[in-house]
């Protein structure tokens, strides 16, 4: 599917097979680490993480629950500031549970840092993070990543849940967007 690569995509950074293999590895690692531990809850950050979460969860061999949160930044635009607005909180309480936050991409680190702080304040039994992509060149704040899919260069990536203005989110691979696309007006 989606055989034709859109013109806005400069190159495919991570193809379907490469992503699938890495997601399996992450799932195996998480399953081993949480074996025998009760009450694991995966918290997916909308919208970007839903495809990663759907693939990851299906390969876990440990029982777990799934929950979602939705965030919104206070300023529009592409630069991340520290403050984010929690527009939907988790359905269930995380106190005393083993929490794994599932994120699509780690950029400046501000958002994940904020999430870790708010969830830590709820006294979970443990708190870890699983991030599909990391852009180390963009990091502004050091943040704990327990499970990482791939490190990528500082380019705008789309697909597998990641969007550009709500477009290209559902490409089955991760592609780098042409610079002209996101620097235009």
């Amino acid at each position: 599917m989606n055989n034709a690569i859109p013109a806005a995509i400069e190159q495919v950074l991570l193809d379907e097979r490469t992503i699938a293999r890495r997601v399996s590895e992450l799932a195996a690692q998480i399953s081993a680490d949480y074996a025998g531990l009760d009450d694991l809850v995966l918290i997916g950050v909308l919208k970007g993480a839903f495809i990663f979460l759907a693939d990851l969860a299906r390969q876990l061999t440990v029982p777990h629950h799934v929950d979602f949160i939705a965030l919104s930044s206070y300023n529009k635009g592409t630069a991340s500031s520290g403050a984010v607005r929690l527009i939907m909180d988790t359905r269930s309480s995380v106190t005393g549970r083993n929490v794994l936050i599932v994120e699509d991409i780690l950029d400046t680190g501000y958002t994940l840092d904020y999430l870790l702080r708010i969830f830590r304040a709820r006294n979970p039994a443990s708190l870890r993070t699983c991030v599909l992509l990391s852009k180390p060149a963009r990091r502004r704040v050091e943040v704990q990543v327990d499970y990482l899919g791939f490190e990528i260069p500082d380019v705008w990536v789309v697909g597998y849940g990641l969007d550009y203005a709500d477009l290209f989110r559902t490409l089955p691979y991760i592609g780098a967007l042409r610079k002209e696309v996101y620097t235009r007006g």
């Binding site: 599917m1 989606n2 839903f50 759907a54 969860a57 299906r58 629950h65 979602f68």
Partner: protein, 183 residues
């Protein structure tokens, strides 16, 4: 593992799901054009795995939005009225909307959601559900895309849960009666 031992039988296998989801994707590609730019509205949490697989088959331009709902508790079930915990990020006035559901049972919740969305003046409003259980239907609601009709049994997997468990089974299974009884 425990999850698999609780399954009495596999109703729809992983391969059958994969093939059918691809067919549904092709039907959606055929119905809408790039200019329509349909907005797929996913009702959490049950539909997220179905959505994740379905959208990877779409070649038409589209967008995705999420809704999360919660019932008001007993007594309101017959009206289907639910509390919206997360509303759409987008204004759907004049947009082509496709609601993506995991299962249509009585139809009451879906009926309420579609009535709610219709008040916002979308250009069109359609429904795509992975599963439909006709034996349980109380409100006749038009379904534009249906993955599978299932018998009146408790099914779980591929996003559907029982008490928040079994969502991640890669197939749709029928749970053992002992599980349902909480034994």
């Amino acid at each position: 593992m425990g999850l698999y031992e609780d399954v009495e039988r596999v109703l729809i296998s992983e391969a059958e799901l994969k093939a059918r989801v691809a067919e549904l994707g092709a039907q959606i590609n055929a119905l809408y054009s790039d200019e329509d730019r349909p907005l797929l509205v996913c009702v959490l949490k049950g539909a997220f795995i179905f959505l994740a697989d379905l959208v990877r088959h779409l070649r038409i331009r589209h967008e995705i939005d999420f809704m999360e709902i919660s019932s008001y508790g007993k007594g309101t079930a017959s009206s289907g009225v639910v509390r919206i915990l997360l509303d759409l990020e987008q204004n759907i006035e004049g947009r082509h909307v496709l609601v993506v559901e995991d299962i249509v049972d009585s139809g009451r919740t879906l009926d309420y959601i579609t009535r709610n969305l219709r008040t916002r003046g979308p250009a069109s409003l359609r429904v795509c559900t992975l599963l439909s259980k006709p034996a349980r239907r109380e409100i006749d609601i038009p379904l534009d895309f249906v993955g599978f009709e299932v018998p009146n049994e408790f099914v779980a997997g591929y996003g559907l849960d029982f008490a928040e468990e079994y969502r991640n089974l890669p197939f749709i299974g029928v749970l053992k009666a002992s599980v349902m009884a909480g034994l």
